[in-house]
């Protein structure tokens, strides 16, 4: 039994997906968030960074975007451009998602 548990893969962590939103300024700093404080702050910063990069790259390509929608099987993320910043809405489709990919 002990040998089996030694080689057992750790169970994937489940992250409870929450509905909410946050705003991010043009420098990438999260201004306010309506997401629960248990929601990983690192994840919010990563999403903010990706969203701002997406808007900036579109602008550089002279194809400015006003809205960016990312559809995951369990989560829909809608980001609206706010003159350099953004407001990001989280709309979960299922209550849980894996917090990190398992190896």
């Amino acid at each position: 039994m002990g040998l089996l548990t030694l080689f057992a893969k750790p169970a994937p962590t489940l992250l409870r997906l929450s509905a909410g939103s946050f705003t991010v300024d043009r420098q990438g700093c999260v201004v306010v968030s309506t997401l629960p404080s248990t929601f990983p702050a690192g994840l919010v910063s990563d999403i903010a960074h990706e969203v701002l990069t997406g808007f900036r790259e579109a602008e550089e390509a002279q194809l400015p975007l006003s809205e960016l929608v990312i559809n995951y099987p369990s989560l829909k993320i809608t980001a609206r451009e706010l003159r350099g910043g953004a407001i990001v809405f989280f709309a979960p489709k299922t209550p849980y998602a894996q917090a990190s990919p398992t190896t």
Binding site: S21, T23, Q27, V32, G85, I87
Partner: protein, 135 residues
Amino acid sequence: MRNKKLDQLVHQLENYLECWKQFNHCLNLARAKKFSPEDDTQFLEVKSVLVQELELILASIEVGSPTKEEIHTLVGSAPSLRFLSEMSEGALRNLESQWHKIYIGWHAILGQLKVRQHAEESKSALASMFGKKEK
């Protein structure tokens, strides 16, 4: 030397004003009666962000107008897009005019902050000039 705190406040207020534009966008959706349940959820989020950000701004600066009460009254009188879509045109216009008063009020505050920003810039430019002369 730039006043980082003041610069940050200007950025914050600019961001806040963009959120107020989102509020107006939602009012227009309600007036056109073209909205989905998702738009209604996003409207609630926009209002939540507006109220939270208001507290952050009020913690940094004193604002005479628009008042916190005015903002809470406006936000409170728009519980949902469905509610707004069922309002009379007159009531919607009244809401829009309240929004406009608040929006312009925030622009006035932003203008005042930019005046302070310019004043600080010229003050520090003068200081560096005299600083060089002393050497």
